[in-house]
Symmetry: C2
Subunit: 444 residues, 2 copies
């Protein structure tokens, strides 16, 4: 049978990896897929660089629409990224009856509903294993491997840049700014790292996982997003002393009231396997009611790891390319027509309604009665304290007042109640600096 004909839109890091892996492993892949997979055409603005990568045998153009318009192309692989031109091209490819593979989490988290609907109407596949956690087959695991389960929650280290930074901060006791520069020098962080360090990239991925876990539409606009730029080396050190590690987690959880969808730094028990995921590695922990906890670990980015996911999607498409669309797995795991109704029953909750526990670091005057004042305000808000770590005075402030850090761990409480209590504590004269509040997840 003629190999399936693939057109690449963009041949940067992931595109060149996809080309290299398809070349190197073509026999192995065809032995699995039952048919060859061939990159037949590449569109890239830098035609010369593209040609240097793919050689003379493959047609290279600078106009992505020429790939979409080519009637020989069966599948379009979108590796441009972003919400802009990529959206138009994906929709045009679908309209032209092409199957689409994309690594574009931003696009799907924001415009997924429109894109999946268009693909459904046209009877084509939009596959996106590469959009979350790179080479780890987490989309397939969640969508097919765990299909027996009511998923209870998903918590993942799904941004390698921030995990690298947090690992380095802990290992070397350095502050965020210093490590960010190192990460940029090593290529683990981009020149403009905003999407990574502010949690936006992780929130895109968490949004997709949330939809697939609970059968609701993608709702990036309702995600709570907090990055790691405010984390101090001191918090990482205190967390360590209390038996925790700080990780940037993407979390989505089903509760009686709705769905939590949030990205923020989290204390997690050091003894959990996921707490020991270091450097730029990714890991996703999924809790299902039948299977319990399962964890998926690997490289979340990079040329060939991401290519591995792109090609797995291509193999899936090869198998079903001439089958009735009814035989396909729905893109978000649940039959598409059921998503909207589920969104009514399972709304994404505002952050004030989230229930979690907390780590608080409060800079106080080292005076008698301060601890009692603070703990009584917490108790008054019906928040139960799990542990208190009171440091020796470590500094004499400007007015001759000894200062110290007061560390408090709480039990589960509503975020809105915690906000109210924190406002009252912050107003105390003996509280000398803005309170640091980091959420804590036991993950059990």
């Amino acid at each position: 049978m003629k190999p399936i004909q693939v057109g690449l839109l963009g041949i940067g890091t992931v595109g060149s990896g996809t080309f290299a892996v398809l070349q190197r492993n073509q026999q192995e892949i065809a032995r699995r897929a039952g048919r060859g997979i061939e990159i037949a055409m590449v569109a890239d603005l830098d035609v010369e660089r593209a040609r240097a990568i793919v050689g003379e045998q493959i047609q290279v153009v600078n106009d992505a629409r020429a790939v979409i318009a080519n009637p020989d192309i069966d599948v379009v692989v979108e590796l441009i990224g972003g919400y802009g031109i990529a959206k138009a091209l994906v929709l045009e490819a679908i309209a032209a009856g092409k199957h689409v593979v994309t690594a574009n989490k931003a696009l799907l988290a924001v415009h997924g509903t429109e894109i999946f609907q268009a693909a459904h109407d046209k009877g084509v596949v939009v596959a996106f294993e590469a959009a979350v956690a790179g080479g780890i087959p987490i989309i397939k695991a969640l969508r097919e491997g765990l299909s027996a389960n009511q998923i209870q929650w998903v918590a993942g280290i799904i941004n390698g840049t921030t995990n690298f930074i947090l690992s380095e901060m802990r290992d070397k006791g350095l502050d965020f700014d210093v490590v960010l520069k190192e990460a940029q020098r090593l290529g683990y962080a981009e020149a403009d790292p905003t999407f990574d360090i502010e949690g936006v990239d992780a929130a895109h991925k968490a949004t997709i996982l949330s939809a697939m876990a609970f059968g609701i539409p993608v709702q990036f606009d309702k995600a709570y997003v907090e990055g790691i730029t405010q984390l101090a080396a001191a918090d990482i050190k205190y967390a360590e002393q209390l038996g925790y590690r700080i990780k940037l987690l993407g979390i989505t959880k089903r509760t009686d009231k709705g769905v939590e969808l949030r990205v923020h730094p989290s204390l997690i028990p050091a003894k959990r396997l996921i707490a020991n995921v270091e450097g730029a590695m990714n890991a996703v922990l999924v809790q299902g009611d039948a299977v319990g906890a399962t964890l998926y670990y690997g490289k979340g980015a990079g040329s060939e790891p991401t290519a591995s996911a792109v090609i797995a999607d291509l193999v899936d498409i090869v198998r079903l390319i001439d089958a009735d669309p009814a035989h396909r797995v729905p893109p978000l795991a649940f039959q598409s027509h059921t998503l909207a109704a589920a969104a009514g029953a399972l709304p994404v909750l505002p952050m004030a309604e989230v229930v979690t526990s907390y780590y608080l670091r409060i800079r106080v005057a080292d005076e008698a009665g301060v601890l009692a004042q603070i703990t009584s305000l917490i108790a008054g808000a019906n928040i139960s304290i799990d542990a208190v770590l009171q440091r020796e005075a470590d500094e004499i402030g400007g007015e001759g007042i000894a200062q110290t850090d007061l560390i408090i761990l709480t039990h589960d409480t509503r975020e809105g109640d915690m906000d109210a209590a924190l406002a009252r504590i912050q107003a105390l004269p003996s509280v000398l600096a803005p309170i640091t509040r980091i959420r804590k997840e036991e993950l059990n």
Copy 2:
């Protein structure tokens, strides 16, 4: 559409879990599968117990063949286990045109070639996610999620009983026999634990993973199998001091000469994530040439975790039940007709041809020159030493000779060369007891 009709053969631990999860999550599962899944008939020798589990609405019989003969049944789920009657029933179900889901690793590791051929000829599916690592979707990950890769090796903790025993031996410093009794009391080990503690169960699973990783037939008869019954608490302690943990690993590796397929206790670096998989949990580490290392972790046994895998297979079957068999994923990941030829190119190597590194514990007389004698015998066999740990004399033997343990870590060497060196060392008069030899895997 009418729900798919499932017949269960055997309703013990996994069967009752399958029934319970299908009942509890029926809406969620149907929202994914696009069609209901219904257990319509159950065969079990203990009809009364079966009826107590499934109630009055479902037909219960004591004759498995009545399920196979029932024309309304679409899928037969075999949960009897073993090579005997289960084999006959699976082949009869296939012959009757039923799709089959099985958790029976022993059956597939030994008779897989015959069973998959029969299913292929009849155009039915034999699915077996539950056969390896319980609820962890490792079959799907290896078969579909990593289909872009040339798999280089797979190493897994794929027997919960032995991992529980090893975890307890390490935590409590106890010997094997003591912990085995505790494991039996807690239900982590069976009354006859032979298949688990001798490594046979892990070898069944490793055999299946090996076939799927490299596209070769299942060849259980060529697996090297060594259990944990000879492990001493001392070895676990010494390994710890050297920065290693001891785990029973199922390992399969592609080399230039062929495929390694082996189950034995292994030292692995304590800092590896998989070294920290404790208790009855399972984890499988897969190294692919594109993706690098990925790890899959979760419960490897138990009623509902295993049911999770059985039901995932049922959902896959629902999707493709009336599709052309060409659209299906081949059971062992590679197109069936290519397996036999690959076996010629990639033979399973005899253990003497395996290349790995070693931990040796040698009980010696604490005399001048013993270390030099032993290390020169090792060097003479062209084996390179990585580290030596020489203990203080800890015992005075019967003839007044002080004794001690000499611990040696080697670099990679051919097992046959190590065997020859060990025979020479064992023959030295200053070597006072049988040498302990444990293989060491760096897993990088």
